[in-house]
């Protein structure tokens, strides 16, 4: 039984039904329920694919008790939709090699539930700055400049809900930040059934280890809100600024991400597709040959254009 993002239901690929029950293995297995092969799972893996028979299995102790997520955001994007999302994105990035996203390499596309901590913060911020407004005019033989000075004072309270920070060491932070935002409205209470057919990880460390990243996001947001509230000045000089954050609630949740690994010219490129929104994040390999062909074409056309224009209106530029 695997979870089908399309049907949003458990689905049996063997009998093509959605209601058939399959017994899950007992809680302490490190061998595959289906073929008995040994599963080489690392200590943070909560769900993985059996390398022998290809079945996905869930390591129950890693999704229970203290490891049980409060919420899970089930995959909304099917594998095919993830490919489409990448193809669309890829159209805009013209310099990728032709073998990128070929059928063969697409076997490396796998769904993964990434562990996240969601932090709530109550923040209060104090900000003071000096702003100036200037006015110029001329009278007789003199130029006048009038400078008005203002004291800018802001006190801002913000209630942040569920700022995410991934609790996976493997998932690159910068990429996970770009995956945001997720629409939390689709979050459901955790049920291991959603994890069938996907890889999964348990949080790699306690919530305290990852809170700093969430705090930075909150502080950045507060600073932006304050800066946006200051307008109409020619210059603004910050005098003091202080943001204090109080973390009043933290939740553990699993978010869906499609991961596509692509090797090109001896280098591995990893793409992440938000399993809910379809947003694609990743550094595309660049084919130097393509860049040069495009560059020379554009330069050649530009040259022809400038050459003709400068001949037509000769004297202007020669």
């Amino acid at each position: 039984m695997v979870f089908s993002p399309k049907m949003q239901k458990m689905y049996c690929p063997y009998c093509d039904g959605t209601d058939c029950e399959e017994k899950r293995g007992d809680a302490s297995v490190t061998v595959c329920y289906s073929c008995g092969g040994e599963i080489n799972a690392d200590e943070v893996t909560s769900a993985t694919k059996c390398p022998y028979c290809g079945n996905y299995l869930i390591l129950d102790p890693r999704v229970e008790g203290e490891y049980e997520p409060k919420e899970i955001l089930p995959f909304k994007l099917s594998k095919e939709e993830a490919v489409t999302a990448m193809e669309n994105e890829f159209k805009k990035r013209i310099f990728t090699p032709n073998s990128f996203l070929s059928e063969k390499t697409l076997e490396n596309l796998e769904g993964m539930y990434v562990p996240f901590f969601l932090y709530d913060f109550k923040s209060d911020a104090d900000y003071t700055a000096e702003g100036t407004k200037t006015r110029h005019w001329r009278s007789g033989n003199y130029r006048y400049t009038e400078t008005s000075y203002y004291e800018i004072i802001r006190k801002l309270d913000v209630d942040f809900k569920k700022i995410p920070a991934d609790a996976s060491v493997k998932a690159p932070d910068s990429v996970m930040d770009l995956m945001e935002p997720y629409d939390y409205n689709a979050n459901v209470s955790f049920d291991p059934k959603y994890m069938s057919g996907f890889n999964g990880e348990v949080y790699n460390a306690p919530a305290g280890e990852f809170i700093e990243r969430a705090k930075q996001k909150a502080i950045k947001s507060v600073n932006t809100l304050i800066n946006d509230s200051v307008s109409g000045y020619n210059t603004v000089t910050k005098v003091s600024s202080n943001v204090s954050l109080d973390n009043d609630n933290t939740e553990y949740a699993l978010f869906p991400v499609w991961v596509y690994k692509y090797s090109w010219a001896g280098k591995e490129y990893v793409f992440h597709v938000n399993g809910q929104t379809g947003k694609v994040v990743g550094t595309t390999p660049v084919s130097l040959l393509k860049v040069i062909i495009y560059g020379i074409t554009k330069a050649g056309l530009t040259w022809a254009l400038v050459e003709m224009i400068s001949r037509l209106f000769g004297g202007l530029v020669s």
Partner: protein, 312 residues
């Protein structure tokens, strides 16, 4: 190369290519239909059949040249003209042009000019009236499109007002477009530097200078360095911006994780502190600049001429 790659390539360049085609069409339309000179055509053919004096270019009214010298000069000028596609006319005088200038200015309702400009008026009118111009006689429409050529007027008479000999080099049509003031000065310098030893030699050297000035660039097969620089710049920028592969755009903003109505300004105050005024002495600048490279002016009759004068 599959189809998608080709479609992508075409899409990416189509706009620029269409612009190039349009400009190319305009370029072909604007270009003179008969190429004036190419690698195959080694000499120009004059289209002007209306010159009052036919093939004559040297008017030695001051009688400074022997017949033989005049003939040599004529044939040299004839040879150079075919090479550069511009008429070269030489006039020597030995008379006061004051009355002529007064009359000219009266005719065209102009203010009287200074003695150094008498030769200029003479040169302009001589050119226009005698219908010189390699391509065709100058059309007096104020443009530089017709009447290609150069005239040198050397008046050996010392005008009593200043006691100096005045010389004028006038440029018209193609020659006016091509000659800058500095180049005109230089050509006159060359003439002055060489006439002392032998008057004919001075004139021959002047013609050689004009040949050099107008021949070096007339076949515009050399690519404009400017265009190549621009193209190189485009290539550089393009490669640099595209070699750096992109990751993805940030799609969160300052409000993404703020609960609805969760951001409140407890204090939002802009308090006026003080004001200061400073003043700087800055009288309005009196801007006056006169442009015009190559000594451009318009003759009484309405023809565009360039030129410059020297005296000795």
């Amino acid at each position: 190369m599959n189809k998608r790659v080709i479609t992508q390539f075409i899409k990416s360049n189509i706009v620029l290519a269409v612009i190039v085609l349009i400009v190319f069409g305009y370029y072909m339309y604007k270009k003179p239909s008969i190429p004036r000179k190419t690698d195959e055509v080694l000499s120009y053919v004059s289209g002007n059949t209306e010159r009052v004096y036919g093939d004559k270019r040297v008017f030695d009214y001051a009688d400074e040249l022997t017949d033989k010298e005049e003939a040599d000069l004529e044939s040299y000028i004839h040879e150079v003209e075919q090479e550069i596609g511009n008429d070269i006319v030489i006039v020597t005088l030995n008379e006061s042009l004051k009355e002529y200038a007064e009359d000219y200015c009266k005719r065209y309702n102009m203010e009287m000019v200074s003695p150094d400009k008498y030769v200029m008026l003479y040169a302009d009118e001589f050119w226009e009236v005698n219908k010189f111009g390699f391509d065709q006689p100058q059309i007096l429409d104020g443009t530089q499109e017709t009447g290609d050529g150069v005239i040198l007027v050397d008046n050996l008479f010392r005008e009593p007002e200043t006691g100096r000999i005045y010389t004028w080099m006038g440029t018209t049509g193609e020659a006016e477009k091509r000659y800058s003031s500095d180049e005109i000065d230089h050509a006159l310098d060359v003439f002055y530097d060489n006439l002392d030893e032998d008057y004919k030699h001075g004139l021959m050297t002047f013609v050689t200078q004009v040949r050099f000035d107008l021949d070096t660039e007339i076949v515009d097969l050399a690519f404009k360095p400017f265009a190549i620089i621009v193209a190189g710049f485009v290539l550089l920028i393009f490669v640099l911006t595209h070699l750096k592969s992109k990751s993805g755009k940030v799609t969160t903003n300052a409000n993404t994780y703020v609960s609805p109505g969760g951001a409140n300004f407890v204090v939002h105050e802009d308090r006026f502190l003080r004001k200061s005024v400073s003043k700087v002495y800055d009288p309005p600048s009196s801007s006056s600049s006169s442009g015009g490279g190559g000594g451009h002016h318009t003759s009484g009759g309405g023809g565009s001429h360039g030129g410059g004068g020297h005296s000795r």
